[in-house]
């Protein structure tokens, strides 16, 4: 399978996969639609906005030197739930959230990071 050109490859975008047969949407790479088994699907860039459904402040991290980090689950407007960092102490479940891409991952890699959606 081809590596997707999204944030995991350094391209600041969240890709959502859309099944051509049943319309199911998902986030992590898969060879088949888990609902209908189809292998006909396409990647669509997400708007990066959605509903924050969970936030955690992680105090005990895998690498002591990292210090505490915050993570969130955001249900994208396109459907799937994605995990990201948080760069807004005020972000809480129930808030509208918007993504940015920041070099905050292990060894400075680009990762999705969420904050409350600003007034548009």
């Amino acid at each position: 399978m081809e590596r997707r050109t999204d944030w995991t490859a350094g391209v600041p975008v969240l890709l959502v996969t859309s099944c051509g047969r049943c319309g199911n949407h998902w986030y992590l790479p898969r060879a088949h639609c888990p609902v209908c088994g189809s292998d006909e699907f396409s990647d669509v860039p997400s708007s990066g906005g959605g509903l924050c459904v969970a936030v955690t402040r992680v105090h005990v991290t895998a690498r002591e030197e990292d210090g505490p980090v915050s993570l969130a689950l955001v249900e994208l407007d396109e459907g799937p739930v994605v995990m990201g960092r948080v760069h807004d102490d005020g972000l809480a479940p129930g808030d509208r959230a918007a993504v940015e891409f920041r070099p905050d991952g292990h060894d400075g890699v680009l990762v999705p990071s969420f904050a409350q959606e600003g007034p548009s």
């Binding site: 995991t8 992590l28 459904v53 992680v58 991290t61 002591e64 689950l73 995990m83």
Partner: protein
């Protein structure tokens, strides 16, 4: 299905430096075979759970050689925290089809003493997606903390809603020899313990332990204490949190499969063993199994529903939260405890007149599910 659980063996859990993973497996296997009244050389099949400390390509061969047996069939299995029950389910299939007579299922690990906390956290975090989750800096407690945050928000609850579950597990452990933590705790203690991954605090999380557990699964009973493995059921719907379908992790599929095979319904079940790696784990499992209404597992705990004399006597050994968690063996201790209950050998913690037990384990992030129905022999 015709499969008998003829023997169980569980060591004490805790920080107990000295033995390595295979030595814990040997101790547990010795206990289980003695319990079954089965000679080591009568074992024709060995299934061994993985150890994170002593990762090995051939854990069953490694164990069998050191234990001093030469089985016809031996293999390792890994399904995270569900491994122990998945091995038991596989053993039951092997004996019920005539492919094996006595299967020794064994796991053990010096998970607390054999590695640093950092190493343990890092290894376990690999249940996260290597490209999409691990680089964010998450840990297993962080993944479950996200589930807890969503749960509390969904039902409009505060963190105290989950705190009664670890308090109940500790009360059970106080009455169980071999438990890692026995000093009673309060809701206040849970809420003021140090934050690990908010909203989860230290006492919402199971400890890391050294210890082992083993089962003997046989084609026929070896005595009156043998139990019937009446049904097993599994479900594997995702690996990663980012692929989990909210409200349908797989628990609600595995349990009905096990109950259907046993031709029983929840009303018949007298005693429970439900995986409790975190307070949120056991809450979500109880609710997805439809034993308690959504958002109410903690309230049920507060009301004593999981006490020995409650509506759903559960984890009467103290669970992972207080008996301890040595990896694969941790999820096997629930089944060993339910077996002791069904044999009516639990003394002060005996659930009166119990005949049928249900045990459920999950691995990963509510990823792999195995349910087992045990029935007291006639």
């Amino acid at each position: 299905m015709t499969a008998s659980l003829t023997g169980v063996g569980v060591t004490g859990f805790g920080r107990q430096p000295g033995p390595d993973s295979v030595e814990w497996q040997i101790t547990a296997a010795t206990l289980a075979l003695a319990d079954a009244g089965v000679d080591p050389d009568a074992v024709d099949t060995v299934i061994t759970g993985y150890s994170t400390v002593a990762s090995h390509l051939m854990p069953a061969d490694l164990f069998a050689e050191r234990f001093g047996i030469r089985p016809a069939v031996a293999f390792g299995m890994s399904a995270g925290g569900a491994t122990g029950l998945a091995m038991l389910a596989q053993a039951a299939r092997l004996v019920s089809t005539g492919a094996a007579r006595h299967v020794l299922v064994v796991a053990g690990e010096d998970r607390a003493s054999g590695q640093t906390r950092e190493a343990s956290t890092r290894v376990l975090a690999q249940v996260g997606h290597a490209a999409y989750e691990v680089p964010l800096g998450g840990t297993v407690p962080a993944y479950y903390a996200l589930l807890a945050s969503r749960y509390l928000w969904t039902y409009g609850l505060g963190p105290e809603a989950l705190a009664s579950l670890p308090v109940q597990m500790r009360a059970h452990a106080a009455r169980k020899l071999g438990a890692q933590f026995q000093k009673p705790i309060t809701v206040e203690d849970v809420l003021t313990s140090r934050p690990v991954a908010e909203p989860l605090r230290l006492l919402d999380c199971c400890p890391v332990s050294d210890g082992g557990a083993a089962f003997v699964v046989s084609a026929a009973p070896t005595g009156e204490r043998s139990l019937e493995i009446a049904g097993t059921g599994q479900a594997h719907r995702h690996q990663h949190l980012s692929a989990m379908e909210p409200g349908s992790s797989g628990a609600s599929l595995a349990a009905p499969r096990a109950l259907a095979e046993a031709d029983l319904s929840w009303e018949a079940v007298d005693v429970f063993g439900i995986y409790d790696s975190f307070s949120i784990t056991v809450a979500m499992l109880l609710e997805e199994l439809a034993l308690t209404p959504p958002g109410r597992a903690g309230a049920y705990a507060r009301a004593g529903a999981f006490e020995v004399d409650g509506r759903y006597p559960m984890n009467t050994h103290g669970g992972l939260l207080s008996y301890g968690h040595c990896g694969v063996g941790g999820g096997m201790a629930h089944l060993a405890e339910v077996a002791s209950q069904l044999r009516h050998e639990r003394g002060v913690s005996q659930v009166g007149g119990c005949e049928v037990g249900y045990v459920h384990a999950d691995g990963g992030v509510l990823s792999a599910h195995v349910g087992v129905v045990l029935r007291r022999g006639l």
